[in-house]
Assembly symmetry: C2
Homo-oligomer: 126 residues x 2
Amino acid sequence: MAIKRQTATVKLLWEQFEESRDALSVVYLVKHLKVAMNKSTVYRILDRMEESGKLHSFIGKNGLKWYAKCQDCSSENHIDIHPHFQCNGCGKVECLTEEIKIPKISKHQIQLAQVLLLGKCETCLN
Amino acid sequence: MAIKRQTATVKLLWEQFEESRDALSVVYLVKHLKVAMNKSTVYRILDRMEESGKLHSFIGKNGLKWYAKCQDCSSENHIDIHPHFQCNGCGKVECLTEEIKIPKISKHQIQLAQVLLLGKCETCLN
DNA sequence: GTTTATGCAAATTCTTTGCAATACT
DNA sequence: AGTATTGCAAAGAATTTGCATAAAC
């Protein structure tokens, strides 16, 4: 179900995504939010924001789910072909803007492509 | 730790990967093997095969971990830039041979790229 | 005979669900 | 008032770990 009511928790969570270009996980959010928030609630709100087309999600390196603000996506047409970067050192996840070309795969009908680049971020390189 | 002893379980598991081009998950293996096998054992053997450079792993659509036989990888230099395909219908995962071009990302040092294509396989299309 | 590998049970981690209480509009 | 949303506790699912036993070399 999509977002229908602007509750305090919905507003607070949305601010987190507006404030950073990084992707955020439920685990990160419940740990770092100033206001204590129930984890089930966070799971449900992020799901609804995704359904509403305000966030997109993807799976990071240890199977953890990450959400990020959609920059250039409309709710009908998600452009999820931009790559995501995750640092092998600190685990931080970032949306990149570079375009990825997906080759035509003969036998299958492709609906979505997820590209995850793993490496070291600037901070962890030093 | 890498594989050191050729036990019966190690041989049986390796056969599974030799017999199919598809990627396999622990969940799938413990459910479908003819011989009952402890799941912790399977987790540990697949980990060791990966360390030995015989398998590579990646995360599928629901955060589930998949393993597949390395075709053109050497143990020092994994070519994991080939895409993986997962069917949104039946969940089946396949290694594709098409090459993917990864764009240069200015600020980060990229060590590995994972490309997951989601769609419908031939069977599930009909 | 040493060392690696296995099986079992329990613990961890992430995510989902049921249901009664609460807050929007 | 009526319905969406929340909190809590419990359930699920995948993966990891500790430890005693068994199997490989």
